[in-house]
């Protein structure tokens, strides 16, 4: 569903992501983990086509910046951003028009109910609390029924009920054959959801592992994460058992 090949993104001389390669299977949930500043958001923003990068990204074989590819994916940003002068329901209508959706109202109403925004439909974007803004951004990402859903730290700011609903939605989407790429640095929030995990640090993918592979090793995702992110030498260099670079994760790290 998603093929990312050797993408590199630099800000001046700083590599925000460096030679990142991975691919996602249809109907799977992939979590993108990493400490703050690891380059997770940069990878996601490259995938949705709002950054310039070197390398190639294809969504279902289509160039990710093409209009055709954009019809296939939805995006939930890390920092919720809404139009201050559109109401909650007008935001949904706006997205429906932008994506040329026809029968969206029923699904939108269902999402409003599930995320407890049904009584906030007349509120303006700037009248919502941060948590509610995040919920609306989730709804806007979901209402298009995307084949590929990309979520950047979607649990931040959500109340426990909304987190539970989001996890349910993720499971339902996976069951329906959608592909999900979820970035987070809170490992607990995705423990029971993931099929594949990509662990990033310092702009590179340090591990690319499936749940089955990790289970076979008898290790938890948290153990692997800390093994990678905390395993440093005295001078601060990261020390890996696994080989570095884009090929690092094609199998499980040892």
């Amino acid at each position: 569903m998603l093929q990312v090949s050797h993408i590199t993104k630099k800000y001046g001389k700083v590599f925000a992501c460096d030679d990142v390669t991975f691919s996602l299977d249809r109907g799977s949930v992939t979590v993108l983990l990493g400490p703050n500043g690891a380059g997770k958001s940069t990878v996601l923003k490259s995938v949705i086509g709002v950054l310039r990068y070197t390398g190639e990204i294809a969504i279902d074989g289509l160039y990710n910046k093409s209009v055709e590819a954009k019809r296939l994916f939805g995006y939930v940003p890390e920092i919720p951003s809404l139009y201050p002068n559109l109401t909650v329901s007008e935001h949904v209508e706006f997205i429906a028009r932008a994506y040329r959706l026809k029968d969206y109202q029923g699904y939108a109403d269902e999402l409003f109910e599930r995320f407890e925004l049904a009584d906030k439909k007349k509120k303006f974007g700037d009248e919502l609390s941060k948590g509610m803004q995040q919920k609306l951004n989730l709804i806007l990402g979901l209402v298009t029924r995307p084949q590929l859903l990309i979520m950047d730290e979607p649990m931040i700011g959500l109340d426990p009920h909304a987190i539970k609903e989001l996890k349910n939605v993720i499971s339902e989407l996976r069951a329906a054959g959608s592909t999900l790429l979820v970035s987070t640095h809170i490992i607990d929030s995705v423990t029971e959801l993931w099929d594949r995990a990509l662990i990033m640090q310092t702009g590179r993918i340090r591990a690319n592992v499936t749940k089955a592979e990790l289970d076979a090793e008898g290790r938890t995702l948290e153990e692997l994460f800390f093994a990678i992110t905390e395993h440093r030498s005295e001078n601060g260099e990261v020390v890996f058992d696994a080989p570095e670079g884009p090929d690092a994760g094609e199998g499980a790290p040892s």
């Binding site: 500043g37 380059g39 806007l140």
Partner: protein
């Protein structure tokens, strides 16, 4: 995209009106309207009474082909002056938009566009056009109130009604084209970053291409090379058919000139050129292979994330020290309580200014001073400080529009700092005042040294500071008073109303000064009034801080 555009435009407009109606701002706007109506009716009544008193003018007067102009200009001179003014304004507006296009272009998008619209299935050009058209619509709306001035312009300048409409139309076209020029430069510069560094020099080149041939021609034309000859020289050089054929600026001149002269057909031809060129420019911009999404993103946030990544992981180490290493990073030198804002503002000025003193504003004023000295010694020869003082006060006023300490006041801790609201506002505004004084001082000193008139210089300096203080205070007041969700266009309309209504009393001494030929006391009076009015708005702002954020 078209349906999306109309949906967004309609709903956001309607919702902003709703929001405004919930605030006191609407009361102010209605009061302005009421004031305008009362003033208009009152003046008409007075005018009628005066005419009745004088009696009906003899019919011969009405049929005179060339009525005497009170300004002393002949009709042809008046037309030339009008055309020169239109050309000058067009040039200034277009140059400013060309120079700031790269920056203002990136501001065309709202933060929500980057997360909702950029990933949507639409071409970047369509997204750009979506925002551009909305901005143009907002510009038309914001200029709407100028339409009420058409009868005044027609009557005051003794022009045919068509000319009033043409002037208004020319203003709208100028807004459109300047916005398009800015967006064109932005699209080009963000897609081809190498273009960026040539934009500024190209614009300077175009200005030089206009000015130097004119000055050379004027010097050799036999027309006196001084203020008195400027109108004749300008008219003979710029008010010609070839000059009117220059795209946009020339067409605007042509439209206004021919409309004012009552020549319908040529005016319509220039209007047609302006109308037809508009979609052509839009189409041209739409055809540029645009890739500006990244620039429109919150750049600082991205860079900060990347730098944080580097800091944490140490992937890349900077080899060369940048300017950041030379910036002062020691602790604030002084200031406790509300005075901390004053100390911080001045410390930051020193921190970021060239040689610890020359800010961009100070350098701009110095450039203006150099230009004013040159013009005074070669062309104007007014023998006074007035041209420089007036120009710098004008610039000082316009550059200080808005809240100068917004970065502080928009944070909650501005409300939390345990000091009285008035002292927080006062010290913050005081910092702006002192910063402005430091910016203006070198330019005033240089000009006073070159031209003389030290006493006059002092008065004009006070006026420059006064209008700056007044504009800043109004900016602060409106920043606290208008809800944050209200769009910039609405804010601008309200700000402009406030500023110009407030300027009315400040202008009274200036008008008296012109009438009684005593500009110096007039400038002093205006300066003191600006400071007083500024203080009133500062006190009102303090009251708003006391009541808390809206």
């Amino acid at each position: 995209m078209t349906r999306l555009f109309f949906f967004y435009a309609l709903h956001s407009f309607k919702n902003q009106l709703k929001k405004l109606f919930k605030t006191w701002v609407i009361v102010f706007i209605l009061a302005c309207f009421l004031f305008g109506i009362l003033l208009g009716v009152g003046l008409s009544f007075l005018g009628g009474a005066v005419e009745e008193g004088i009696g009906e003018p003899p019919e011969e007067v009405e049929t005179e082909p060339e009525p005497e102009d009170p300004s002393g200009l002949s009709r042809e001179e008046g037309l030339i002056l009008l055309e020169l003014a239109v050309g000058g304004i067009a040039l200034v507006v277009l140059v400013i938009d060309a120079l700031t296009g790269d920056k203002s272009g990136s501001q065309i998008f709202l933060p929500a566009d980057t997360t909702l619209l950029f990933p949507a299935p639409a071409k970047p050009q369509s997204v750009l056009m979506f925002r551009l058209l909305l901005q143009l619509g907002a510009a038309v709306f914001a200029s709407g109130y100028m339409a009420f001035q058409i009868p005044n312009i027609v009557r005051g300048m003794d022009l045919p009604p068509m000319a009033g409409v043409a002037l208004f139309g020319a203003w709208l076209f100028l807004l459109f084209y300047s916005k398009l020029l800015g967006v064109f430069i932005y699209t080009l510069a963000s897609t081809y970053p190498r273009v960026k560094k040539y934009v500024r020099w190209t614009v300077y080149g175009v200005i030089a291409l206009v000015l130097f041939p004119f000055l050379l021609w004027w010097k050799t034309s036999g027309i006196p090379f001084e203020m008195a000859g400027l109108l004749e020289a300008g008219g003979r050089f710029f008010c010609t058919l070839p000059a009117r054929l220059i795209p946009v600026a020339g067409w605007l001149k042509g439209l206004c000139y021919h409309a004012a002269a009552g020549e319908t057909l040529p005016a319509l031809l220039f209007l047609a050129a302006l109308v037809l060129f508009l979609p052509a420019v839009c189409f041209f911009i739409w055809r540029i292979k645009a890739d500006f999404y990244e620039d429109a993103q919150a750049k600082s946030e991205e860079t900060a994330a990347a730098l944080a990544s580097a800091a944490e992981g140490g992937i890349v180490k900077r080899k060369k020290p940048d300017r950041g290493d030379r910036i002062l990073r020691d602790r604030l030198p002084a200031g406790e309580g509300a005075r901390a804002y004053f100390a911080k503002a001045l410390y930051n000025r020193r921190r970021f200014a060239t040689l610890g003193f020359f800010t961009k504003s100070a350098i701009t004023y110095l450039v203006i001073a150099a230009g004013a000295i040159f013009l005074e010694k070669t062309v104007i020869r007014s023998g006074s400080f007035l041209p420089f003082g007036l120009l710098v006060s004008f610039v000082s006023f316009y550059t200080s529009l808005g809240n100068p300490f917004a970065e502080d006041s928009r944070k909650d801790w501005f409300f939390l700092v345990p000091a009285s609201p008035l002292s927080k506002i006062a010290w913050s505004l005081c910092a702006g005042f002192v910063k402005n004084l430091l910016d203006l001082l070198p330019a005033y000193l240089v000009t006073a040294a070159a031209l003389g008139f030290p006493a006059e210089a002092l008065v004009w300096l006070l006026l420059s500071l006064g209008v700056n203080f007044y504009a800043s205070s109004v900016g602060v007041f409106l920043d606290f008073a208008i809800p944050e969700g209200v769009a910039k266009t609405f804010k601008s309309v309200v700000t402009v109303s406030f500023l110009y209504f407030g300027l009315a009393p400040i202008a009274i001494p200036a008008i008296l000064g012109i009438v009684f030929e005593a500009m110096l006391p007039a400038a002093l009076g205006s300066a003191l009034l600006s400071l007083a009015l500024g203080a009133v708005f500062a006190a009102l702002s303090a009251q708003l801080v006391k009541t808390g954020r809206r």
